[in-house]
């Protein structure tokens, strides 16, 4: 009931204490380099020299490796298989599976793409795990992101679990009055109809009340908003961001130049 849609793990680490924007730029840098740097082994190396060290530096290695093994690796593995079998490149057939040819090129191609996806999802996971959503949003709002935008993001993260809880309450209430939720698929699908009304209309009513409540607290005030928490942005962070941006530009430039 009280669960929130947040991956954030509270720790005190070098990564946690970085400015949220720096972490966002770092994440994008890792992803863009993995996808654009014109050297075959780039994403593989990034896992070793960036993703794993960063998870250690952020003191979230244990949680990260669990997520990586259970979620990211299977997804990347699936992608690898699909691409290895269905990518029609190369002539050097290693083995045949019915009508599907696996060539050395398609294997190499699939391996790199799977690693790229692995880097992308891992980088985002590390970002979400080490950054509190409200810190990220208040930092971005301070830098000029419209307040409405960050409100929508944060409140969705918080209110979705509440709506799920409410739908379960409605289901329980309907079941106690004889609603069938355990027989055939079509019967169950039909039994969802009485759920939709209360949930959708109830949620719409709530939206109106919530709009009044936040309006009463000056949400549309024309004043420049302030923030309860100070989010530090030391010169180290600013420098780091410029270095990362330079790396992105370098990687993209090399990619364009060599292609």
């Amino acid at each position: 009931m009280h669960e929130r849609l947040s991956f954030h793990i509270k720790r005190d680490s070098f990564i946690h204490n970085l400015n949220p924007l720096t972490k966002l730029v770092l994440t994008l840098t890792l992803i863009l380099i993995a996808f654009t740097f014109p050297w075959y082994w780039t994403p593989h190396l990034l896992v070793l020299v960036a993703i794993i060290p960063l998870s250690l530096l952020g003191k979230v290695f244990r949680e990260f490796s669990v997520t990586a093994l259970r979620l990211i690796l299977p997804a990347a593995g699936f992608l690898f298989l699909m691409q290895a079998f269905f990518q029609p490149v190369g002539s050097d057939v290693i083995f045949k599976f019915y009508f599907l040819d696996v060539t050395q090129e398609s294997l190499m191609f699939a391996f790199r793409n799977a690693m790229r996806v692995f880097v992308m999802v891992s980088a985002f996971t590390l970002f979400l795990v080490t950054t509190h959503p409200s810190e990220l949003m208040s930092d971005l709002t301070r830098r000029g992101l419209p307040g409405q935008f960050s409100y929508v993001i944060i409140s969705t993260l918080q209110i979705l679990p509440q709506i799920i809880a409410k739908s379960q309450t409605i289901i329980a209430a309907q079941r106690s009055r004889g609603l069938d939720t355990e027989s055939s698929f079509f019967k169950r699908a039909g039994s969802l109809i009485p759920l939709v009304g209360p949930l959708v209309f109830g949620s719409l009513m709530e939206v109106e009340e919530r709009a009044i409540a936040i309006e009463a607290r000056g949400f549309t005030s024309k004043q420049t908003k302030t923030s309860l928490h100070e989010i530090p942005d030391p010169s180290f962070d600013q420098m780091l961001r410029w270095v990362l941006v330079a790396l992105i530009i370098l990687s993209i430039a090399l990619n364009l130049w060599l292609s």
């Binding site: 009280h2 929130r4 509190h132 409200s134 307040g147 960050s150 409100y151 944060i154 409140s155 918080q158 209110i159 509440q162 709530e206 009340e209 919530r210 709009a211 009044i212 409540a213 936040i214 309006e215 009463a216 607290r217 000056g218 949400f219 549309t220 005030s221 024309k222 004043q223 420049t224 908003k225 302030t226 923030s227 309860l228 928490h229 100070e230």
Partner: protein, 279 residues
């Protein structure tokens, strides 16, 4: 000139046929604690929205007459300016939690962030407001993990922290136990004594009798009766018009018919009833 002044206010929501408020005239002095009672559908909540500027600025619809607070006219103001002077808390606490904040402390600071209060002042104002409503121990909890009564206190605190001149409350204690209700009424009373003007919609007659300065009885969108709490809350007009009355009042009414209740005036609270019956 009264602090709050409603002159012939008639209002109709965009999708209703009949007006919800009809020729409402209402004056409230600065620092006065006025309570509004009335049966369901009497227009109590609409009146609250009108005072807080949401009627007509948020709900649109047709309005005539004038609404003035602190010398300013609602129709000539915008909602974001109006809410700086008039605070509104209403019944359902769950929908008053902004959803944008992860702790109660941040939740209460939300309004101050919006109106641009500097950080240090914000912190001390939030601390003060939490001390006032007795929710300091909830500061680090998630607003969604609280009980209904606790959420109502957070909602009330979130409005109090903005220090409005007029506080409009629409059944702010509906989910509270008697102890919580007493504390919240005490807090509201204190705010009124410090100069905040309070308009409170409430069903709990005994508490109104104990704490409010004046009671206004609303029926079908018009003012039926107004005056001192004990006069209004024991009036025969209330019973005739389908208002809920305190159980002590109705007991004494019956007793009076049978000649057991000897006093002229009827009680609203337990203490008054006990005193009347024992003498």
């Amino acid at each position: 000139m009264a602090f709050v002044n409603l002159q012939n206010v008639t209002y109709k929501y965009p999708l209703t046929k009949a007006p919800v408020l009809q020729n409402v005239n209402l004056q409230v002095d600065e620092g006065e604690f006025v309570s509004i009672v009335g049966p369901n559908g009497a227009g109590k909540s609409t009146l609250c929205y009108a005072l807080a500027g949401f009627v007509p600025h948020f709900f649109k619809g047709e309005i005539s007459g004038s609404i003035e607070v602190d010398g300013k006219e609602s129709s000539k103001s915008t909602l974001d300016e109006w809410v700086l002077n008039v605070g509104l808390a209403f019944q359902n606490p769950f929908n008053q939690i902004s959803g944008a904040k992860y702790t109660v402390f941040e939740e209460i600071a939300f309004g101050l962030e919006n109106i641009g209060v500097p950080r240090e002042e914000m912190k001390s104002r939030v601390e003060d407001a939490m001390a006032l409503t007795g929710i300091r121990d909830l500061a680090d909890r998630s607003p969604y993990s609280l009980s209904g009564g606790q959420q109502q206190r957070v909602a009330l605190t979130s409005i109090l922290v903005m220090r409005p001149k007029l506080l409009v409350l629409d059944e702010p204690t509906s989910q509270m136990d008697p102890i919580g209700t007493r504390e919240v009424f005490g807090t509201i009373r204190k705010m009124a004594e410090e100069g905040m003007t309070v308009v409170l919609v409430e069903h709990k007659m005994e508490w109104i009798a104990k704490f409010a300065d004046r009671v206004i009885a609303l029926k079908d969108g018009s003012v039926l009766l107004e005056g001192k709490p004990n006069e209004v809350l024991t009036s025969d007009l209330l019973v005739e018009n389908g208002f809920g009355i305190s159980r002590y009042t109705s007991t004494a009414r019956e007793a009076k018919k049978q000649g057991i209740w000897k006093k002229e005036s009827l009680p609203v609270t337990l203490d008054e009833a006990a005193e009347g019956f024992t003498k």
